[in-house]
Symmetry: C2
Subunit: 341 residues, 2 copies
């Protein structure tokens, strides 16, 4: 019970236990993340702890030296860039990085929280669009700060988050093509249910509109952010009568799919078709031709999130930090003036 008593004292915890109608030992179990407490009891105790503003005191001597990074899926091409960012900040602070792959794009799996509460990390960086209220309450009641890195671009407003400027990225990509002289420009964006897909597409539309160009709706498609989505949509668009001279591919993987579609149709990049990706993954430098793309600062996003987590473990922040880092265009060899001019 040593930790539970540090913040508001044994008497008060006793009162909380009474209020929850449980034993002091049950309150202690909940605080220490033990799994042998019924879910309903846990929820009731968490709620009461939260209502009384219970917070574990910071900087306890047994405070761990871990920082956690949680993913829904290690298989994404992003994962490595995010790990690198958290690792960079961990090194600066003498922390070690714990990596977990759990749950879906929307939330970590239930058993994950048990482990986190047991390990008591300095803080948690989550690669999810949101976190269930129950998890938030459990982390907050133990003063384990968390920040969401959200490449999907739609974080919940009550949660600290780091994203990037998706709309500006779409705008820059399209402006670059317009400045090269293209007017028949296609856009393949990501899945319809991710807000970043819409933000990038809206950036595309704004660039077209402000340049006085018409968007041909047959040249706008939602993809899947993977190679297949780029390949299939590009095949359809490039087989049409009045084919585009440039495609904003929405992601680097979709751009590789566009490359493949072009190659199979005997269309040369960039002579016959300009292609712009989005993300600037390492592989964008290795494609042939090297890919012009929008740099999404994934490593910096993870660094920023990890720094925030460390700061939040040391001081109370006045407001919930929410940051979008800038994106920028990286011009390589996959874009040129139309018709090889």
């Amino acid at each position: 019970m040593s930790e539970s008593t540090t913040s508001i004292g044994r008497v008060k915890l006793n009162e909380l236990a009474d209020e929850a109608g449980v034993s002091l030992s049950t309150v202690s179990k909940v605080l220490n993340g033990r799994s042998d407490v019924a879910a309903a009891t846990r929820t009731r105790v968490e709620g009461i702890l939260d209502a009384h503003g219970y917070q574990r005191r910071m900087g306890l001597p047994n405070r761990n030296t871990l920082i956690e990074l949680v993913f829904p899926d290690l298989d994404t091409v992003w994962a490595m860039e995010l790990i690198r960012g958290v690792e960079n900040v961990a090194k600066e602070h003498g922390l070690s990085v714990v990596i977990s792959e759990t749950g879906t794009r929307h939330a970590p799996a239930p058993d994950w929280i048990t482990g986190v509460l047991r390990r008591r990390p300095v803080g948690v960086v989550l690669v999810f669009s949101d976190l269930a209220d129950g998890y938030k309450a459990q982390l907050r009641s133990r003063a384990i700060p968390f920040v969401i890195v959200d490449p999907a671009g739609d974080p919940s407003p009550d949660v600290p988050s780091v994203g990037s400027a998706n709309w500006s990225g779409g705008l820059m990509a399209t402006r670059h093509l317009i400045e090269l002289g293209h007017s028949r420009i296609a856009a393949i964006t990501g899945p319809d249910d991710m807000m970043c897909s819409h933000a990038r597409l809206d950036g595309f539309r704004s660039a077209m509109n402000t340049a006085g160009l018409t968007v041909d709706e047959s040249l706008v498609a939602f993809g899947d952010f993977h190679v297949d989505g780029g390949r299939e949509n590009a095949r359809r668009m490039l087989a049409g009568e009045n084919r585009p001279t440039a495609i904003f591919a929405g992601s680097d993987l979709q751009a590789l799919g566009v490359f493949d579609a072009a190659r199979s149709l005997g269309i040369r990049v960039p002579e016959d078709l300009s292609v712009v990706g989005y993300d600037d993954l390492q592989l964008a430098q290795w494609s042939s031709p090297a890919l012009t793309t929008v740099h999404q600062p994934l490593t910096r996003m993870a660094e920023e999130a990890a720094r925030l987590v460390v700061r939040m473990s040391e001081e109370q922040l006045e407001s919930i930090p929410r940051v979008d880092l800038a994106t920028r265009l990286v011009v390589r060899d996959s874009t040129a003036a139309p018709g090889g001019r």
Copy 2:
């Protein structure tokens, strides 16, 4: 001192302290990985602990639930595949993965060991060719098992290790090209100072020799395992008089470099030139054309290493486990009969 006394008792540790000419408290500090012990003293104490076969008892109640994965460099394209492997096994055993990037290809940095001894993980998976004797002694004296995953292919004989069959991989890649009808086959392998480069090249030579084909030494090169090494060597080979009809590129990244060299010279893959990679990274599926390559089971290598570490934390193994996992050829679209036959 509770842990130090569990294995051989306080009296004996006292004797060890006497033998080392230090206080019992200093022995305890060394055992607990504290940094406030002079390096010379630490080494002396470690040596005496080791000589007396001191081992922390397994399965202590405060045993951590961490497994560690240590890299020289998170920037390699391998890193993600290895992380995935350790993560898979960690999940099976309810462990969490701590990731550290430290040191060089040859050894982790000195401060790393301090952190490991403090965290007391179930075990450590190291992505290095070897580990300094001092580190080995420190880990062994605390019964923290470690296994080396060694894609470079030259592990020290006294250390548990998991590698893969590099020679067989080179053999299979080359046989595939010979079976397609190629006889003028080039090989670009990795750096001269990595044994896996030599193993793959020797496999290539054996395939050529057993098929009765002559190796043209102007078509054999050491690269760097990166895109540039593939591009530059391929440019030189493809610009020559009697250019190869097929290139075994030694790594997937070098294969991408060969693709780029071919494209810039107007040479079509696979119609005019067949290319085989090595590694089977995710990006091998995404290149255009999709890359025929040798699958190096990086994820399985990491899984095997993590499983070994967990086993070693539970039981004494009779001999030092050293395993090479099989490689296999994955045929995709970058290889065909020569001359488009």
